[in-house]
């Protein structure tokens, strides 16, 4: 690890390498544990938690907003893809949490062939990194058709722990 690498980049490097070496599809999305309103699957990866009446957990809702605010400009509405970038509602059927985080933070390039695709490294963008799990949770739900397209109609209230973490991460603007 080169000493000048920033924390985020170093993390991306580690995660990206891990993702490449141990690329494994996401496991069963079933939530087995919920801490302060945030759910985790049996592997300990963040996941969604949707009630029978369609009410989504706050992280899924937050992920929707942040996806639409920061990702949809290239990846299209609701993870559906565009003429510019792939449909993440499909990609996340095969990309697990670690690989997802690695790509988001470190970026990736697939250029040439007249169809240049470049994913930027978003490790320095707090609007993304502070909500990385939220975005993953939302897209994971989309990849399993657990939430439909569009803004979720009903969501749980914002957990106090979310509020606290958000404020700490985003800082004073």
């Amino acid at each position: 690890m080169k000493p000048f690498m920033s924390g985020a980049l170093a993390l991306a490097f580690a995660l990206g390498a891990a993702g490449a070496a141990f690329a494994e599809p996401p496991g069963d999305p079933k939530a087995v544990k919920t801490v302060d309103g945030k759910s985790f699957d049996a592997k300990g990866d963040p996941t969604y938690n949707i009630k029978p009446d369609g009410t989504v957990d706050f992280y899924t809702f937050s992920g929707y907003r942040r996806y639409m605010g920061n990702c949809s400009q290239c990846h299209g509405p609701d993870g559906m893809g565009s003429s510019y970038a792939p449909a993440l509602a499909d990609s996340l059927k095969t990309i697990g949490y670690a690989e997802f985080a690695g790509i988001v933070i470190g970026g990736r390039q697939n250029v040439g062939g007249g169809n240049e695709k470049v994913m930027p490294a978003l490790g320095d963008d707090k609007n993304v990194t502070c909500y990385l799990d939220d975005i993953y949770i939302y897209l994971r739900a989309r990849s399993n058709d657990a939430v439909p397209r569009g803004r979720p109609d009903k969501h749980d209230p914002k957990p106090p722990a979310f509020e606290k973490a958000e404020t700490e991460c985003m800082g004073v603007n």
Binding site: Q73, M80, S82, S83, D125, N127, G150, P152, M170
Partner: protein
């Protein structure tokens, strides 16, 4: 015209001004030759109109492809090629290849110029790696590369003559606009409103690429090139007006990008263009009018000094960029001959102003669906004169952060985006490609990091209630502010129009059709489906005694991103048809030029 131009050849700077006037005159003369197409906008007035009349309402039904050319790039193809004499100049999206094609030899490639650019610029380009075209002046082809390098290429040899870096992509600055040559200068703005870029308009010397002047969209007068003579609706703007309507230092990341089309009135020595949205999309985070984002600018071509400004959407709450083209014409309004400027804004109002002084003459909705404001206040004695009267229920600022404000028309796409309208002096009508889409808009808190997106809102888009068409192609009377006829289109019309002297009007559609309609009635006369969706602009030229019509296909741009998957409204459920259909069911990526002519 000659007289007017020569009248500037007086005083101490006579030599400079005379030289400029001559170079200027050459290009102006070329733009009056209907056989050529020497600037993307057709002429300095942005008419996109041709005197050619071989293709008529009667015979256009026989139009057929004469030859085609693949650009080798599969991205959104905006803009249109240039034709100068026997050579056609075709540009592409990133990597911004320029081809010179021999019209005497079935489009054989005379030369190809491909710049080397760092691909990391790609994701900094909000809404696809589009490029809106080339400029020509004094034997040079001007290309604004994605990475903000402005390069002058020898039109004969394809070799770079000079190049100059106009911005910094690592700070979110990119180029998508077509430069325009005016006198001895090349005008070029900057993209990056979604990255907190404080944007500018700049003039570079056509001879060597050196910066001549640079006027920012916001900041102190020394930056905006405003003075005590700069007016807004007839009144002086006052000192440092580009700072006072911002909270603290927010103007430094204020946006106001300048990626649209530019126009020029040689007689007034003024250039016109619009500035885009203030950064961020969350209006709560930037109180104030945010001047001079969302503004029509009139600047002196030689010095950049702002003569007048008019802000259409103070304190934007919907991303209604003001960058759309300014079309210049001479028309009689209320019995008075006027030099007017007509502008179809993203915010859904069609504006007619007196371009000599910025007086507001007409401001009317050019899509009946527009609802965010009841009207523009035209009462000169009113405190809100010239401002849109915003309805609280559609104000994303009044509704507030973390509130989903519903049913706003138009959507952020605008009633029209960059796809330029055409003007016919025969009919005195404007032919306008429009979007017919509404949205829900929810602003939320964002933090600014240089070179990273600075958006701060989420939105979902859908056709107006009870309707399925997402676009209209309309004819507009700018004197009265009235729609004369309107043709429905299933998708937004994202292609620039072309009007001709024979009263045939052309445009492209997102499914990929090139269409011809009657200028007087809007009746469809011809259509042909090209290989990919059209977001390029239709142009025409004459070669070897034949009139040709050409258009680039290659779906993409914001249309390709927003519409590829189809629109949706959560309350309406899935699987809806009509207006909700996915563009991806109709067309796929492409990059092709199709050139049409009547059969021999």
């Amino acid at each position: 015209m000659r007289k007017l131009l020569l009248s500037t050849c007086i005083g101490a700077s006579a030599l400079i001004f005379c030289g400029a006037a001559n170079a200027n005159e050459a290009l102006q003369k070329m733009s009056q030759n209907p056989k050529d197409w020497v600037m993307p906008t057709g002429n300095y007035f942005n008419w996109r109109y041709s005197e050619l009349k071989q293709i008529t309402p009667d015979n256009v039904k026989s139009l057929a492809p004469a030859w085609t050319f693949s650009t080798g790039v599969l991205r959104g193809h905006e803009g249109a090629p240039l034709v100068i004499g026997d050579v056609m100049y075709v540009h592409t999206p990133f990597p911004n290849i320029v081809y010179a094609l021999d019209l005497n030899n079935d489009g054989k490639i005379l030369w190809k110029y491909e710049p080397k650019q760092d691909p990391s610029v790609i994701p900094v380009m909000c809404c696809d790696t589009v490029n809106r075209g080339l400029a020509y002046g004094d034997g040079k082809i001007l290309l604004a590369q994605a990475d903000t390098t402005l390069v002058a290429i020898d039109a004969k040899t394809g070799k770079a003559v000079w190049s100059t870096k106009t911005g910094d992509p690592t700070k979110g600055q990119t180029s998508t606009a077509a430069p325009m040559v005016m006198k001895d200068k090349v005008m070029l703005g900057i993209s990056g409103g979604e990255f907190g870029v404080r944007a500018w308009m700049a003039a570079y010397n056509l001879a060597d690429g050196k910066l001549a002047w640079k006027g920012y969209s916001m900041g102190p007068d020394a930056d905006t090139l405003m003075s005590e003579n700069t007016t807004n609706l007839g009144k002086p703007v006052g000192k440092d007006s580009g700072i006072g309507t911002w909270q603290a230092d927010q103007w430094k990341i204020g946006g106001g990008a300048t990626w649209g089309w530019y126009s020029y009135d040689p007689a007034l020595n003024l250039m016109y263009y619009g500035s885009g949205n203030p950064s961020t999309w969350n209006p709560k985070q930037r109180p104030g009018d945010n001047k001079w984002s969302m503004t029509i600018w009139a600047r002196d071509v030689d010095t950049g000094q702002a003569k007048w400004v008019y802000q259409m959407t103070p304190h934007d709450e919907w991303d209604y960029d003001g960058i759309n083209e300014m079309i210049l014409s001479d028309q009689t309004i209320d019995g008075k001959a006027r030099k007017v400027l007509t502008h179809f804004d993203r915010n859904g109002f069609g504006y007619t102003l007196d371009r000599t002084n910025g007086e507001l003459l007409v401001a009317e909705k050019y899509d009946p669906a527009v609802n965010w404001a009841s009207k523009v206040d035209m009462d000169k004695s009113s405190k809100t004169y010239g401002r849109p009267l915003v309805l609280d229920k559609y104000s994303t600022d009044k509704q507030g952060e973390d509130v989903n404000t519903k049913g706003i028309c138009p959507a952020a796409l605008g009633t029209k985006d960059q796809q330029p309208a055409a003007y016919s002096p025969q009919t005195e009508l404007f032919y306008v490609p429009t979007n017919h889409v509404c949205m829900d808009y929810e602003p939320f808190k964002v933090s600014y990091t240089a070179g990273q997106p600075y958006v701060g809102a989420t939105l979902s888009m859908y056709p107006p209630a009870g309707e399925t068409n997402m676009g209209n192609f309309i004819a507009w009377d700018g004197k009265k502010g009235k729609i004369v006829w309107s043709d429905k289109e299933q998708f937004s019309v994202w292609s620039g129009a072309l009007a001709t002297a024979s009263n045939v009007v052309f445009y492209g559609t997102l499914e990929g059709y090139l269409k011809a309609v009657d200028a007087k009635t809007g009746k469809e006369l011809y259509k042909f489906k090209t290989p990919s969706g059209i977001i390029g602009n239709v142009m025409t030229y004459e070669h070897g005694g034949r009139q040709y019509v050409a258009v680039l296909s290659g779906v993409g741009g914001w249309a390709g991103i927003g519409l590829a998957a189809g629109l949706t409204k959560p309350t309406d459920g899935l699987g809806a048809v009509g207006g909700y259909a996915a563009l991806s069911n109709y067309t796929a990526l492409g990059g092709q030029l199709t050139v049409f002519a009547l059969p021999k």
